[in-house]
């Protein structure tokens, strides 16, 4: 197949040639982006140990990422626990396993739904905000101003956000898990009439400490993912309002996808490690 380019192009270019060129360009850009991201992550990691974060910056970020995300995370956790309890009950009721409902809610909330949904909600709220704030700072030359004031942008902008996000994500996840299980219990026991004693007993029996540990490790990692992708997108955003808009959208999309993909591998890896200990 042959296609003709505009009169300014020299000669004919095959369709495959054009596709190869686009693929090559896309791959080069993707690899460049990955390289920049790796360098930023490495610089942030180095800076975590070498640079003293001021308490004020860290506390402000913990307040912004943690305290201000609570309502979103708590609502998500509660309704997820309620829906999970109802759906599990509807299926288990058919095989007379009603009292195992809360056990499913407990395991799912601790190891999967708690950390993943908290991560996704924080990615939507905080990842976007970080990308927008840092992106705006970039387009208004505030990041250049930081550099002229002998301050490394990673030290001032990335490290406090990264550290705060690592700290508050497990806390938010624990809140989501607790509320999810509590709401699931209310739905199961009060609304659907499951025996409370057996439900509670089964939940404690089947929900292992490893499930909670797995959830907390995941939450810690997702906190890092949300913060570092938000910072990366902000620091590498394009010019003007359009650039900031793209950076914000991409921060949410990439954080969410990374959390979902990482979750699969973490489940496999942590499952093997924690259950063999």
């Amino acid at each position: 197949m042959c296609i003709k380019l505009s009169p300014t192009a020299q000669g004919n270019v095959t369709f495959h040639g054009l596709m190869n060129l686009s693929a090559h360009k896309w791959l080069t850009e993707w690899l460049r982006g990955l390289g920049r991201f790796t360098l930023l992550a490495a610089e942030a990691f180095r800076s975590l140990f070498a640079f003293k974060v001021t308490w004020r910056d860290l506390l402000y970020q913990m307040y912004f990422i943690g305290v201000k995300s609570q309502s979103v995370v708590l609502i998500t956790g509660a309704f997820t626990g309620m829906v999970l309890a109802a759906q599990t009950y509807f299926q288990f009721h058919k095989v007379k396993m009603d009292t195992a409902t809360l056990a499913v809610v407990g395991v799912s909330m601790c190891s999967e739904l708690g950390p993943v949904l908290t991560g996704l909600m924080v990615a939507g709220r905080v990842g976007a905000a970080i990308a927008a704030e840092i992106g705006t700072m970039k387009v208004t030359e505030q990041i250049d101003a930081l550099r002229t004031l002998a301050t490394h942008p990673v030290d001032y902008l990335v490290v406090p956000r990264l550290l705060a996000s690592h700290i508050v994500m497990p806390i938010l996840t624990v809140e989501a898990i607790a509320l999810g299980i509590g709401a699931g219990y209310v739905v199961g026991v009060q609304l659907l009439g499951i025996d409370p004693a057996y439900s509670w007993y089964n939940m404690l029996r089947y929900t292992a400490t490893e499930d909670l540990v797995m959830g907390l490790i995941k939450a810690f990692i997702y906190g890092g993912i949300v913060a570092i992708i938000g910072c990366y997108k902000g620091m590498n955003c394009g010019e003007g309002a359009e650039g900031v808009g793209h950076a914000t959208t991409e921060a949410v999309v990439y954080s969410s996808i990374t959390i979902l993909v990482t979750n699969f591998f973490l489940t496999l890896t942590l499952g093997k490690i924690l259950h063999t200990l």
Binding site: K52, T54, M137, T140, E141, Q142, D144, A145, L146, R147, T148, L149, A150, T151, H152
Partner: protein, 248 residues
């Protein structure tokens, strides 16, 4: 003090600087003029290591900064203060926090000393008592003054100004000129100003360098530049457009 040797910079296929060379002595006040988009700000940003050249060198007190990484540049940048075109104040901070920003990690200074230095710097730019205002509450001229206070508060040896009077009314622009001269004379700093405001260039500069066609096209004292018979220089000074410039 600042030496630029054969500097080249391109953005994609668009070459902005092609072999720019000059030397600015310690304590000198140099003004770089040129048409909008000719690469003046790009050149200024190379002098403080905010941009990396494609080729050429930038030497600050004999030290080549083009080979330095971001961490090494921090040490060199402690000699610099810079006023940005849009002031680039940190909008989440107050005026006092903006001006005191350079002291954030300087543990040797007591909070009282920092407060005194901030007050002195704001006094110097004629904005006393504005410490608690937010950047968003300030007018364009006030933002530039606060930006200038932030650039000089730690008494750097070199101050760079990127279009300091652009977008300001003539009276505020005049006050910014006065401030630049005050800073130059009181602190005896090396000054580099990028502007296309010829009135400002004449008053602030001891030497004018004209950037044209990706190179330093003309250099001389303000009197020499203003007396130049060169058609390109004359056209810029007189602000006369070509007929081809009207095709917009």
């Amino acid at each position: 003090m600042i030496e630029v040797r054969d500097l080249k910079k391109s953005y994609g296929s668009n070459q902005v600087l092609n072999g720019v060379s000059f030397l600015i002595e310690k304590g000198e006040s140099a003004v770089i003029i040129g048409r909008s988009g000719c690469g003046k700000s790009v050149l200024l940003k190379h002098m403080i290591g905010l941009l990396q050249p494609d080729a050429g060198r930038v030497l600050i007190a004999g030290e080549d900064i083009t080979k330095m990484n971001e961490r090494e540049l921090i040490r060199v940048r402690q000699r610099f203060g810079m006023l940005f075109q849009g002031a680039a104040l940190f909008d989440s901070l107050t005026v006092a926090e903006n001006v005191a920003f350079a002291f954030r990690h300087n543990r040797s200074l007591a909070p009282g000393d920092v407060g005194r230095k901030v007050a002195e710097a704001l006094e110097m730019v004629d904005l006393p008592g504005t410490e608690d205002k937010k950047a968003s509450e300030l007018s364009g001229g006030m933002k530039k003054r606060v930006g200038l206070a932030r650039a000089i508060v730690y008494q750097p040896g070199i101050v760079l100004y990127d279009e300091p009077t652009t977008g300001l009314d003539p009276i505020v622009a005049d006050s910014i000129d006065q401030l630049m001269m005050r800073v130059r004379d009181r602190l005896r700093v090396t000054t580099v100003v990028v502007t296309h405001d010829m009135r400002s260039a004449r008053r602030v500069g001891q030497r004018i360098l004209m950037l044209h066609d990706k190179k330093i096209y003309a250099t001389g004292t303000p009197d020499e530049i203003f007396a130049s018979a060169d058609p390109v220089v004359r056209q810029f000074i007189n602000g006369v457009s070509d007929s081809k410039d009207l095709n917009f």
